[in-house]
């Protein structure tokens, strides 16, 4: 079992209880594996997609084409589905603050940024209309900041519909602290609470009992071996 395996299972857990909605995993291999693992184990009614525009009837390995297609989701339909809300999206973020406001647009002042990034993409609509989780492969004070430079994704203080989870390479977090601020839910095996605090650039709520992120079951490890035989997930989460 590697740290990446723990992260994939933690991402899968973010989709627990979602039922028959689209698990839109966008922020990298670990999120895609999380959605597919959830569907193949404890959340069988989830819809998953091929990362382009097919809703897959089966659950293919990373990079493989589906054998069965159960639906069509071109970009225009995807954008309507955002408004419909029957969708839980797992995004990436270049910056995130303690209320879950996130930035993928630019670093520095917006009129003339120090570093232009992607642009807001679909983050404003996603966070306003759908349950949203985040996957952050490198938990650091550069990402977990006091104030994001531009609000692409809404925090709990700006009308986010529902921020479910933030999964990082160190821990699982949510927004269950007073005032909807970020709370440490569990640390991954081998990670201390102090390490998480040192990697977080704002005051993080730490409850009396911080859990330990659960390890994958034997069945989950078997499923993961089939979904990602080349262990692409470990390139995203080294060590």
């Amino acid at each position: 079992m590697s740290r990446a395996d723990v992260c994939v299972v933690a991402c899968a857990e973010a989709f627990r209880g979602d039922g028959e909605i689209l698990a839109a995993a966008i922020g990298g291999a670990v999120t895609v594996l999380g959605a597919r693992l959830a569907r193949l184990t404890f959340e069988p009614d989830l819809l998953t997609h091929d990362g382009v525009c097919l809703l897959t009837g089966d659950v293919p390995a990373l990079g493989a084409a589906p054998e069965v297609v159960e639906g069509w989701l071109p970009f225009r339909e995807h954008l309507w589905l955002v408004l419909n809300g029957r969708r839980h999206v797992m995004l990436g973020a270049s910056q995130i603050d303690r209320y879950g406001n996130t930035n993928i647009s630019c670093i520095g002042d917006w009129p003339r940024p120090r570093a232009q990034l992607l642009g807001v993409r679909g983050a404003p609509g996603n966070t306003r209309c759908d349950p949203t989780s985040y996957w952050i492969p490198r938990h650091s004070p550069r990402v977990f900041v006091r104030q994001v430079d531009l609000v692409s994704g809404l925090g709990t203080d700006r009308g986010a519909r529902e921020l479910r989870r933030v999964v990082t390479d160190l821990a699982v977090l949510d927004f269950g602290a007073p005032g909807g601020s970020m709370r440490l839910v569990s640390v991954h095996p081998g990670v201390s609470v102090a390490e998480v605090l040192a990697a977080t650039g704002f005051e993080l709520h730490v409850p009396a009992n911080v859990g330990r992120t659960r390890e994958p079951t034997a069945e989950e490890l078997r499923v993961l071996d089939r979904l990602d035989p080349g262990r692409v997930r470990e390139r995203e989460v080294p060590g």
Binding site: L118, G119, V120, A123, L150
Partner: protein
């Protein structure tokens, strides 16, 4: 009744200061032959409306852009577009930054003659802060919900690339995603379609179902035969993205890249 013309003729019809919509998405089925033709003209000060990719990057690099209207600019397999980044970081261009769904609603409004369309996308985010001209609208019904009133995205010229078209401008996509090319065609005063192959009208249904006829000739001012005309972006099922060529574009300085790439396209007529 043929509307067939050359890419150079399309480009020469674009005047400085115009608003140009560009179809496709990111680095997917972009009308790159038409963009390259535009790069060879002296046109300047364009407003580009685009789900941005290398189209936006090249026009920025060639200093032809005053304003970009977009929710993102990306090369997909290379997340950040180097020339757009440089232009933004140098403060050379204005940026109208929208959410992806807001942008679609702007196109839908533009395509259908509406002044705006309401949506929740954008509310609460800094999109409203960095676009101080954006207004909200309140539902007149019992819910009374406040929504963003996305203004119509209209354009002087739209450029799109499809798999097949006939000489009158009926245009067909054969890949998995139409993107938003039909909306660009409807939202522009003049739309030009480049295609992999010009075919007889009677042959259009030989390669795709009737639902693949994305754009009606009533929306099209000109048709350009441009095999490979989306390259290096993808144009499925005719070809995928040329990742090697895209990587060179992203890595080589514009001054060395442009002279070689902007020679006349060998396939172009006229």
């Amino acid at each position: 009744m043929t509307k067939v013309m050359s890419a150079a003729e399309v480009a020469c019809s674009v005047e400085s200061g115009m608003t140009v919509g560009i179809g496709g998405w990111g680095s997917r089925r972009k009308p790159m032959a038409l963009v390259r033709a535009l790069l060879r003209t002296p046109v300047r000060d364009l407003t580009i409306v685009s789900y941005g990719g290398p189209d936006v990057g090249m026009l920025c690099a060639a200093r032809k852009v005053r304003r970009v209207v977009a929710p993102f600019v990306t090369l997909d397999s290379i997340p950040l577009e180097p020339h757009f980044r440089r232009a933004r970081q140098a403060g050379e261009i204005e940026f109208v930054e929208y959410d992806e769904g807001m942008f679609m609603f702007g196109l839908l409004a533009g395509a259908h003659g509406l002044p705006f369309l309401p949506t929740r996308a954008g509310l609460g985010s800094d999109v409203l802060r960095v676009n101080p001209g954006l207004r909200t609208v309140r539902s007149p019904y019992a819910d009374g919900e406040e929504l963003v009133a996305v203004p119509a995205l209209t354009m002087d010229v739209a450029l799109v690339h499809v798999n097949r078209a006939d000489v009158r401008g009926n245009a067909q996509y054969l890949g998995p995603d139409p993107y938003f090319d039909d909306l660009y065609a409807k939202a522009a005063r003049r739309c030009y379609v480049s295609c992999e192959r010009v075919v007889d009208t009677a042959d259009l249904l030989k390669e795709g179902p009737v639902q693949s006829l994305l754009i009606s000739r009533s929306m099209v001012a000109g048709v350009v035969a441009a095999p490979g005309g989306a390259g290096f972006t993808s144009c499925e099922p005719d070809y995928g993205r040329d990742e090697e060529r895209q990587r060179r574009y992203a890595e080589i300085p514009w001054e060395s890249w442009a002279p070689e790439e902007l020679r006349e396209d060998p396939h172009e007529q006229g």
